[in-house]
Every structure is written in structure tokens, then in C-alpha cells.
């Protein structure tokens, strides 16, 4: 059940890693030498995943997806790989920070909205698979009809770690 839930969450929140790659193959490489953005948040970081081991990062993100209410409004900083996915129904790209588990067979991640969401894709975004650090406020909304949770980091800052 847990595994099924995780996979469902992945479908809605991140898509599986391979799907994200194919969806965003047209992504243009971004300036990798410096920070891409920065609406550096003045808030203190509640959950700094960048100082955790890969097991802990994976388990913490799993908790965020399965118990989103507990993390709502918290400031999260995380490192992972950048992926963009195109949602045909809404005609727009969604942006994700993906982490893998220690065996590298499972991937999960969180959608983020860079600043106010007005940055232009693909010009301003990094290339797919680029290592990034994202910091933003965790938000979770439940869709009444399906009962699924939609989680993301809002008003996020984005840095490319290359």
C-alpha cells in the first residue's frame, strides 16, 4: 500500500524520473557557473535537507509526501536534480527537484515555483539533470474530488551547483 501510494504521489507530484526526462528534452542549458536566481528567503530554514545523508533526504521527502499537513508552511532547503515536465492539459511546464534513494532505483521529488513563477522556460532554467539547490516554503493542497495531495515549494530560490 505504501509503495502504491508513493508511486501515485510520484505520478502527481513529480512524475517518474524517466518520464520527466522525456517530457523536457527540449530544455536548454542554463548558465551553470553562477547562481541562477535568487529570491533568497529571509526565513530560517526549518528542514535543511542539504546537510543530510541520501537515506535521510529520501525518507524526509517521503514523510513530506505522505504527511503533508505536518510540513505545510515550513521552509525547506534541498539538493537534487532539476527536471521539467510539460502538462498538456494545462499547457505549462512544471519544475521539480528530484532525489534518488541509496540504491538509486527509486526517485521522488518535489515541485517548486521559482520566485513568483514568472521566469521563462527554458531560457532562464537550468538544463535537465543539472544538480540544483532549492529553498522555498512547503505548501500542500488536497483535491477534494480525488483526495490526492498536491505538494510544492513556493516562492523558491534556485541555485545551480555546477
Amino acid at each position: 500500500m505504501k509503495r502504491i501510494f508513493l508511486l501515485l504521489a510520484l505520478c502527481f507530484l513529480t512524475g517518474c524520473a524517466s518520464a520527466a526526462v522525456s517530457d523536457s528534452s527540449s530544455a536548454a542549458p542554463a548558465d551553470s557557473s553562477s547562481a541562477v536566481s535568487s529570491a533568497e528567503s529571509a526565513h530560517a530554514v526549518d528542514y535543511d535537507l542539504t546537510v543530510m545523508s541520501s537515506d535521510m533526504v529520501y525518507a524526509t521527502i517521503y514523510q513530506m509526501i505522505t504527511e503533508p499537513e505536518q510540513y505545510a508552511g515550513k521552509t525547506i532547503r534541498m539538493q537534487g536534480l532539476y527536471y521539467a515536465a510539460y502538462a498538456e492539459q494545462k499547457f505549462q511546464y512544471y519544475h521539480y527537484c528530484i532525489v534518488t534513494d541509496a540504491l538509486a532505483c527509486c526517485a521522488q521529488g518535489i515541485e517548486f515555483v521559482w520566485d513568483d513563477g514568472n521566469h521563462v522556460y527554458p531560457d532562464e532554467y537550468p538544463r535537465d539533470n543539472a544538480p540544483i539547490t532549492v529553498q522555498g516554503t512547503f505548501s500542500a493542497q488536497k483535491e477534494e474530488t480525488t483526495g490526492n495531495w498536491y505538494c510544492r515549494l513556493e516562492n523558491a530560490s534556485l541555485n545551480v551547483n555546477e
Binding site: M1, K2, R3, I4, L6, L7, L8, L10, C11, G15, C16, A19, M52, S53, S54, D55, M56, Y58, A59, T60, Y62, Q63, T66, D101, A102, L103, C105, C106, A107
Partner: protein, 281 residues
Amino acid sequence: MSALIQKLEFYFQYPFVQYALIVGVLIALCSSLLGVTLVLKRFSLIGDGLSHVAFGAMAIASVLHLANDLLLVLPITILCAIVLLCAGQNTRICGDSAIAMLSVSTLAMGYLLMNLFASGPNLSGDVCSTLFGSTSILTLTSDEVALCAVLSLLIVILFILFYNKLFAVTFDENFAQATGLHVRRSNLLIAVVIATVIVLAMNLVGSLLVSALIVFPALSAMRLCKSFLSVTICSALLSVFCALTGILISILAGTPVGSTIVATDLGAFCIVYVIARLSGR
């Protein structure tokens, strides 16, 4: 060193780390208790066979979209354990052949079912996670921890209550039967308990590595101690120590939990082996 302790203190604040340690200790304890009996009865590989059965049952539960897969996995695994342990001696296909046949059949059927009726986009991740454990132990809910605690407590109580019968059945079934002991009933108890332990242990190390939890602590303890009781106690202590060490190393170093615990068990066995050789045991 202080940085390491600080990091551990930081990690211990997370409930899922506390859950992992509790469940890890309980599973290691239960598997080591039964491990001694299974190794002595030359059923070391039954853990492997039954964990593959559990994998197959988990695949069926996944296909049926069961909310709680334990309701299906546990009875199927117990049934197969009973078939192997109780009927194994009186059938045409017996012993290791029966274990091997059941093991590969259920593993293959489970994988086939998961492929044919995939419930999600990440099939390989799903299978890999079930087989090798991955970070399953770090993603437990409080309900799962409670269930594990209750089952573990039950197993320990049963082991203590039936210690003498287990002892008799382990060493000489014919003699035990001659003294009026219900050998079949005792084997049934062992089968039920070992199936429960294996289903629980799959969360800790994954289905392919379950045997290590059963075999390594018992073999290490047999190098150090001689009596059944001392081997059992030593095996339990070693198993709990290795599980705790393995979990702590894996969360600090970011390595896969299951394989780190097994590597710790292997390391302990090697150390014990050297100590036993040097001391002439």
C-alpha cells in the same frame, strides 16, 4: 567524533529514525532467536525461500490493490512455511528441492504479475525496493511500528514458553516424539513464527537479504558458545548489535540500509571466526 554524535542527535529528532531503530532491534531479535533452531535443523535457506514467497504474495496484493498487503502476505507465507516444515519430510519433493522450487517459482510469478499488472510507472524501482529493502525501514508509519512491536513481543513470548519443546525438536525429532512430544505441533509453531519473522524482516533488509538475519548471528554465536541457551543469547545480542550498527552506519553514510546491516553481520562473523580460531575453539 563530536560532529558524528551531533549528527546522530540531529537525526534522532526525526520520528522515522526512532521507528527504524525500534523495528530494526525487534526484527533482529526475533530472527536471531529462530535462526539458531533453523540452522541446527539444516533449514538455513528456508528464510530465502519464504521471503520469495512473501514477494510473490506482495505482488498479488499489489495487483489486487489491497489496502493492507500484510493481510494476504502473512497467511500465504505461513501456509508455505507449514508446507515446507511440516510436510516436507513426507513428500516426494522434500527438503532443499522443495525450498528451491517454491523459492524460484514464487519469485518468478511475483515479478511476472507485477509486469503484467503494473500498478505504477516505476516498476523496476518497486521491485528493487522490495528485493533489497532500500529505505523501507525509514518510511514506516506508527501503525506499522505498533504491529511489528506486537508481533515481535508475541514471538519472544512463544519462544520463551516453548523453549524446551523447541530445544527437543531442534536436536532430535524422533527422540522428542518418543518422549510424548507433539513434534508436528512444534514444527507448526516454528513454521508460523518463522513466516511472521520473515514478513517483518522484509521491511528491514528486503526479501533477498532476509536469510542473512537468520543465518549470520546463529553461526557467529556457535563459534563462541557451546550450549543451546548460550548460543541463543549470544546470537540475539550479536544480531541486535549488528542491526543497530548497520542502521546507524547507513543513515550516517547514506548507504542502502539492508545491505549495510548484512555487511555488518558478515563483518561480525569474520571477527568472531578469527577470535574463535585464535582461542582454539
